[in-house]
């Protein structure tokens, strides 16, 4: 089983890591960011509460920008990152 990684339009992408516990959301987000170009946007969907802290902290550490962390529904979040 893979992880859904889709191109939404020219500059924005979507990564769905729902169902994965720590530390997979962080690992997959880093992996996905490698495929993006500078200035592209990545939306990460997760249902692992701890990832709402870990993913933003770790991508910031790698030098990317975190634009938003939004709760989409009970127990689900969207994290928007700019490479």
């Amino acid at each position: 089983m893979g992880v859904k990684f889709e191109k939404k339009d020219e500059k924005s992408y979507l990564l769905d890591v729902r169902g994965y516990l720590c530390p997979y959301p962080v690992i997959f987000t880093r992996k996905a960011l490698l495929q993006l170009k500078e200035g592209d946007f990545l939306e990460v969907f997760t249902d692992n509460p701890a990832s709402c802290e870990n993913v933003p902290n770790d991508v910031k550490e790698d030098g990317h920008k975190v634009l938003a962390i939004e709760q989409m529904g009970r127990g689900e979040w969207k994290i928007v990152i700019k490479k």
Partner: protein
Amino acid sequence: MSPNQIYKRIFVAPWPEWIGGLILGIFFIIFSAWALTPFNIYGGYYNWGSWFYKLTGLSDFFPAFKDPASPLMAKMSVGNLGFLLGVFSAAILAGEFKLKGVTSKTDYIEAVLGGFVMALGVVFAWGCNFGGFFSAITALSLNGFAMMLGLIVGGFLGSLYVNWRAAGIEILELIPVEAKISSPSTPSDSGNKTWLPILLILIPITLVVLINYYYSINGAIIYSGILFIGLFIGFTVQRSRLCFTTAFRDLFNKKGEFLRSLKLQRAIVLGLIVAAIGIAALKANNLLDKDLNVSPVGWINVMGGILFGFGMVIAGACGSGMLWRTAEGHLKLVIALVVTTLAFVPLTLFIWNYAPALAGPKIFIPTVFGWPLGLLFIIGLLSVWLLILRWIEHQWRGRK
């Protein structure tokens, strides 16, 4: 701050890890002083597992099996129940509760294997991340440090597994806009259940029923307190996401969450120092049995720590973490919890009945160094660990 902001800060936004460590340390002292029993999550699991084997009659095949106390009258069983209620209420209030099924065969295998390996580790290390590590170090017993060494190695081995598994899971090739068949998977509505907070009513009902029950029995009032302390510990652990698994998994894993590992390690050390000082004060003044939670120590404890550390990483949660993720609605950890509970009873009975020589001597540090020095020795060892953590951080981040 408006009441709304205060509510959000306490019940919705996560607490800093060090606050969690501090509060855990304080509640740990209160628990010990009140319950006069070691805080060991697996003690509760042992009670639950024993009931399964007694009711099925399988216990007839076990050596030295003792009939368990009622789960409502066994201290750690009640402590675990409180912990579960605490996490559940915190998760519901924060909007973090969600029923999550198991999606892949690998997750089933990891849950079963992780639960079993953790049970084996607990047998050898005389407890889980609490009984064998946190509660042992704060009891001023040497075995806690032996398990800690094992947890560091086991967590590292676990991170190698995690990286290997992650490399095997493909991030699907980018699907171009035109070729997209279905629209991108927007978060499902099924997760957005507004009736969930109603479940909160279960908590006061359970508490009232149980406390009524305890009041009706002579001498049972102690269990009401244990229930509440367990509840506060569970609430604190959920709010500050004090995850022992992450703390030991990603210390040496550049691809993982090493930043959080470092923060969590420091929070745990803070909790350890606070609790060790409190327990030392209780033990030195004979308010607590000096032998409380002092367990045998030897290389077998390190082995137990390695097994437990590896098991918790593949299952996704430690001894207390399994209760925590169960109360957040994670099926994978419910499976691990059931497996570890069922495995723990026979493993304990068979191993210690047929191989008692594996157990080392019990070493209570103050009997070696004397009173103030024994406590200082423990704080010294933990300070060395803090310096090592600083060095690890320096390796990862440079001079940031």
